[in-house]
Amino acid sequence: MEKQLRTDFKKIVDSSNFSEKEIITKEKYLNKFIQNGFPGKKNEDWKFLDLNQVIKSNIKNLDYFNENLPNEVDPKIYVDGLEHNKIVFINGRIEKIDFKYEESDKFEIKDQFDSKNLLNDVNSLVDLNSALTNKYYKFQVKKHYTLKKPVIIYSLTTSKISSKNINIRLDFDLESNSSLKIIDYSIDKSENNFVNIVYNFNLEKDAILKNYKLDKEENNNIKYSYNNINLDTNSVAENFVLSLGSSFIKNEINCNLNGKYSSAFVNGIFNLDNNKNHEIRTSINHLNENTKSYQLIKSVLGENTKSAYQGKIFVKSNAQKTDGYQLSKAILLSDNAEFNAKPELEIYADDVKCSHGSASGSLNQDSIFYLMSRGLNYKEAKELLINGFLLDVVEKITDNEIKNLIKNIMGLKE
């Protein structure tokens, strides 16, 4: 693997125009990755999903270099019925940035590399991302500006590629009292690639971020997404993860509640069938007084599927008056389904209200009986119950337009 990485790294360096300094920094991260490799079962955070094993058994000769040929953007892929700004990635290459609904002086896009923005000591995959991304973009929302329309980040893969590693990296700065809604929307026509996405968000005072991640299309790719969110005083981050399509995906969300009265929300849905293996891992760090977090994760698990939720609430000793809550629920529809949870609390302050709950089991037979006695057949009764179970999470979304979009995607009825 090391030889392959080094030659591919050289190819990336040759085909891009990095500065001397950039190359040195990138090499440092590459060495770190080579040292640690893909995380496996021995790593506590990857206990339930052994990525090393998954990559080994699904991808032969993983290729880290993409030729980056330009692709035509087919307008048919755009989401209907919702006016939005667009960022389009095709096979890891940015093809289109379109912010036609916004005032151009309120919004800035930077593409200079700055090593200060790189994330250190997270895990080997973030190091890999830092080493191999060839383009760097930072989106900056200016003070007091609220984007008129949500931003949809399309991340497409075409059938042209296979056994590739794709690294995507974006930064978002929300200046004080600004607001941004983004939707991560992936469309996959390829198979057996490893997609590694890292986003970093900085929220200044009173900023509001709404971050929705939709993975809906059936595909055989392996995906990892890491979102780091830093929150200053009174800022809010709302996150929603819809985990449906890919055969393997792990979503990681890390929130640092640095400022007083800041709050973070993470809601997620797994609705899996056909040998899928998905995970959500969150860590919410309460680092200041009066911060709040709320997490709700629900799973519906079909034949041969596996979902895992690892959620951690950390409360620093000065973070008094913290309010932290997490709840995970799972319905297992098959005897071959598996649900794993590790809801973790690490608390060093005494005046806090922290709790978690986790429940897993089969569909409630009494409820099914009730519905069937009122004329529904078994399938309808089951669907109705699952519909209600998942709707609960979707209803937490605070943006009505996006909520309806997600309901339509999932076919949920009210």
Partner: protein, 478 residues
């Protein structure tokens, strides 16, 4: 006046050491030491071989280090693995032959060794440093066919039972400390309850570490045959010493068809002084196997002592319809650290488990609940309920909850709840208004917080435990 009382209470009252001549094995861990132990205990050959097998495996094993409380590296060559009162070379036939100094020690500890001073008829087996010194109430038990003796005695008198069950729950291929124990265990208790017998009294063992630089490695084996019932209590203390002492015991429980074992522990090892100097490292492996149908194993623990407590009393629910329970109170104060919890492994059909854990941390201490609930594919219709609550006193301490939940079965249900909170001002105010001082008010509230667990303890222990809960938290509020 009250201050003095509080002061007296706060000090560890079991901190004395007894001056008794002891025989020790040569310092350090080696094949010779194991042979020495085996020889002095006149053990059969198969056991020595078993020990050596464990020792050979130990040589390639690595000490685990995933736990939350970190500790300085233990030098296993700087420990005595065997220490026995000298007068014990030949085991005394009855209590009159015991060294009076030993009796004195147990009197100080409040252990009713002499039958005439008995406390509501509890049969006691006392372990001093490494050897079992006396077992009381033998006759009553023998009449019913119950075997309650030290494990050394059982090896001599009931080798077939020991051979069959020793290592059946905690094999020599287990983790580092369990394997260490298998190699060097010195004594401990053995209980066998024959089919259909309900043990008429509580059985109890009292552990005491006396000599310095000794590790204590007992091995307890309890077998409840078909349809039997036994309730077993365990208590422990150690003198105050500046260095840390290692305690790595193994406890194995086997419950056959329709049998029930109730195992209660009040752990009060020396916790170190208020600056965190000294104290016991309590790295114990406790595991119960519900082997038969409809069997039940219940663990109850009150953990107030030790510098570091690191243990997970577990249940393997192998038999259909078997039940596992775990009730725990863990209290840490000053610089104490605890990483404790349980494992419930559901293998049989219709198995049920219940976990109630209450953690209280004060001072500069750190407390972690870590637990596993694993429902395997074949464990149809199984159920688990877990509740773990933590109470924090002050912002210098920590309370953590790390549950692992694995559900591989669509017919089974797992429910888990955890909360973390502090004693509310309202509750304190209410109590104080009615004339209680702060300390008493806190004691009352904490006892209420722990009630669900305290109720599970046998009568005599419950009283002791309640007092302990109060004492452990003295001086932590205000």
């Amino acid at each position: 006046m009250r201050d003095k009382q509080v002061q007296d209470l706060k000090e560890y009252k079991y901190g004395f050491s007894t001056d008794i001549d002891t025989i020790k094995a040569p310092k350090g861990l080696s094949e010779d030491v194991i042979k020495f132990i085996s020889n002095i205990k006149k053990e059969p050959k198969w056991l020595l071989e078993w020990r050596l097998k464990a020792y050979n495996r130990l040589k390639v094993l690595k000490e685990p280090n995933w736990q939350k409380p970190k500790y300085p590296k233990i030098d296993y060559q700087d420990l005595y693995y065997y220490s026995a009162p000298k007068s014990f070379k030949e085991k005394p036939k009855n209590l009159d032959e015991l060294d009076p100094k030993l009796l004195e020690t147990y009197k100080k500890l409040g252990i009713p060794l002499q039958e005439q001073k008995r406390l509501n008829g509890i049969a006691v087996d006392a372990v001093f440093d490494s050897v079992s010194v006396a077992t009381t109430f033998k006759d009553t038990l023998t009449k019913q066919g119950i075997i309650f003796c030290s494990i050394s005695e059982a090896i001599q008198k009931h080798p077939e039972l020991v051979k069959k069950y020793l290592g059946s729950v905690i094999p020599i291929t287990d983790h580092y400390f369990a394997t260490l124990n298998s190699a060097v265990f010195t004594d401990g208790s053995f209980v066998y309850v024959p089919p259909g017998v309900k043990c008429p009294m509580e059985l109890s063992t009292y552990f005491r570490i006396n000599a310095s630089d000794t590790g204590q490695f007992e091995r307890t084996l309890i077998i409840a045959d078909k349809g039997s019932y036994v309730s077993y209590l365990e208590g422990c203390t150690a003198p105050m010493r500046d260095e840390n002492q290692l305690h790595a015991a193994n406890v194995e429980l086997v419950a056959l068809d329709d049998a029930e074992i109730k195992y209660s522990t009040v752990q009060n090892w020396y916790p170190g002084d208020k600056d965190g100097k000294g104290g016991i490292y309590n790295f114990v492996t406790k595991r119960g196997l519900c082997q038969g149908k409809n069997s039940k194993i219940s663990w109850t623990q009150v953990e107030t002592g030790s510098a570091i407590t690191w243990k997970y009393p577990s249940c393997i629910l192998k038999g259909d319809n078997s039940i596992g329970e775990f009730y725990s109170i863990a209290i840490t104060n000053n610089h104490q650290k605890a990483d404790t919890g349980t494992k419930m492994i559901h293998i049989g059909k219709n198995t049920k488990s219940k976990i109630i854990s209450k953690g209280i941390s004060a001072g500069y201490s750190d407390m972690t609940y870590r637990g596993l609930v694993d429902i395997s594919k074949n464990a149809k219709n199984s159920n688990n309920y877990t509740q773990c609550d933590s109470l924090l006193m002050g912002n210098k301490c920590g309370a953590h909850t790390v549950p692992y939940i694995k559900n591989k079965n669509s017919d089974s249900n797992i429910a888990h709840e955890a909360t973390t909170s502090k004693i509310s001002e309202d509750q304190l105010h209410y109590c104080q208004q009615r004339g209680l001082n702060t300390e008493d008010a806190v004691g009352l509230i904490v006892n209420g917080f722990c009630k669900e667990v305290l109720q599970q303890l046998p009568m005599e222990f419950a009283v002791e435990a309640q007092k302990l809960v109060g004492i452990s938290l003295e001086g932590s509020v205000g």
